[in-house]
């Protein structure tokens, strides 16, 4: 499972970076130079990505033309929104280095640091 997920990532990366619609052949040709891979593997990976909603496609003659359902930036934004809002969604278990803090807390935080800094200067 893990290996497959990794291949999905690599394929998505390529498609996002290409900035254009691609065929399975395009992706396969690109991947072939860096790793040993079968054409059918790439095809099933892209089919999977389509069914999972990461890619859209349109039939063009015999082959499908694929393109990303959302740009990398749009996915990133969605991801960040999800991570920021995770406080309101207990189902998403993630540990943030820092929660959002308001101005009052930020000021008090700075006071703590100032106090600490002056302490270390004098001591």
């Amino acid at each position: 499972m893990r290996g497959f997920g990794e291949l999905e990532t690599v394929v998505m990366d390529r498609i996002w970076d290409s900035g254009d619609t691609v065929t399975v052949r395009d992706v396969f040709e690109g991947l072939k130079t860096t790793r040993e891979i079968a054409y059918t593997t790439v095809m099933s990976t892209m089919d999977n990505l389509y069914r999972k909603g990461w890619l859209d496609r349109d039939r063009q003659g015999k082959a499908y033309l694929y393109w990303p359902a959302l740009s990398r930036e749009e996915y990133s934004a969605r991801l960040m929104r999800e991570a920021m809002d995770s406080g309101g969604d207990p189902g998403l278990v993630l540990t943030r280095f820092l929660e959002q803090i308001d101005d009052g807390e930020s000021t008090r935080l700075r006071k703590v640091v100032r106090r600490w800094a002056s302490g270390t200067d004098s001591g």
Binding site: G5, L92, V93, L94, F97, D102, E105
Partner: protein, 328 residues
């Protein structure tokens, strides 16, 4: 039966006094790991003692024989007499229905918690996968950089886990600060904090009316942040962790009221990093928490033993564990 009553009472005492006392004792975060242990034992011991009480109440009538019911006997003792057939078939059937209802409710709750945990797991793993898809590998580390002006760093469990740093955070942090943040997040993953968080949140989400569970979930989350801070501080220094906290906080500042309050007590974390308590105070806190931990662990056992030997206020005459009673 009296053991069941005592266990019930024990659970009630821990559930009532626990949230306030444990919050007060663990809040400064002097020994966060010990604090987490105390909270978890308290959270587990309450449903465990209630479950044990229910089982005993169910089993006791079949073991006990007709015993004198005194006026001051606990309510449950009287119920036992009812179940044993002293008060008619109708009452007996009622009690049986009540017990069945309690067991069914427990089963329902367990199902809901399990379902919640599975859903949370799917959500969380999805997020980790999406982060790895949309992000770029941070050179020389296992973290993923996501293109975003926001300044965010977090970790999320998955297969594999993901440590996510936004481009905004990356731009804000210098190399030592970034290393400290990554160490903090790695400490969460290495310590399997996400499992603890999922379990406590699942319980709190399923039983939101029980302060022990809701307060417990929040406090455990706070203490786990402190644990991760400590691990990061051991490797990179307290100042560096504090610096990273400050660097990211400046950017994360929002207008008052936006996006809720701090769940993980950034100020507390900053304070203990800036001004760690002295040796004596640290040991005092450890002793207090260790004692609490021991009492919570041994509590149900002691309760049971006391009532079985007749030392406790729980009526000894009804102790069905008493070998003499059973022999008769």
């Amino acid at each position: 039966m009296s053991i069941a009553a005592c266990l019930l009472l024990y659970g009630l005492v821990v559930a009532t006094l626990g949230p306030r006392l444990l919050t007060r004792w663990t809040r400064p975060g002097v020994a966060p790991r010990l604090g987490v242990a105390v909270w978890l034992v308290a959270i587990i011991s309450v449903p465990a003692s209630w479950a044990a009480a229910a089982v005993l109440a169910l089993v006791a009538p079949t073991l006990g024989s007709h015993q004198p019911v005194r006026i001051l006997d606990s309510c449950l003792a009287a119920l036992e007499a009812v179940a044993a057939g002293d008060a008619g078939v109708a009452l007996q059937a009622g009690l049986f229905a009540l017990t069945t209802g309690a067991v069914a409710a427990a089963g329902f709750l367990v199902t809901r918690i399990v379902r919640w945990l599975l859903a949370a797991r799917a959500r969380t793993h999805d997020h980790a996968r999406m982060a790895r898809m949309a992000g770029r590998q941070l050179p020389g580390s296992d973290a993923v950089v996501v293109e975003s002006p926001q300044r965010l760093a977090y970790c999320v469990a998955g297969r594999p886990h993901a440590i996510v740093v936004s481009q905004g955070a990356l731009d804000t942090l210098d190399a030592p600060h970034l290393a400290a943040v990554l160490a903090h997040e790695r400490a969460h993953l290495d310590g399997r904090h996400h499992l603890v968080l999922a379990a406590t949140r699942g319980l709190a989400g399923t039983l939101p009316k029980v302060p022990l569970f809701t307060t417990g979930a929040a406090e455990v989350a706070r203490l786990l942040e402190m644990c991760a801070d400590d691990t990061a501080a051991r490797a990179h220094g307290r100042q560096t962790v504090l610096g990273a906290l400050l660097a990211l906080s400046g950017a994360a500042t929002l207008p008052t009221g936006a996006l809720g309050a701090t769940g993980v007590g950034v100020l507390d974390r900053a304070e203990r990093l800036a001004e760690p308590v002295g040796f004596a105070q640290r040991w005092r806190a450890r002793a207090l928490l260790t004692t609490t931990l021991a009492l919570l662990t041994a509590g149900p056992v002691i309760t049971g033993a006391l009532s079985a030997t007749g030392l406790a206020f729980c009526d000894p005459s009804l102790a069905f564990c008493d070998p003499l009673t059973i022999a008769r």
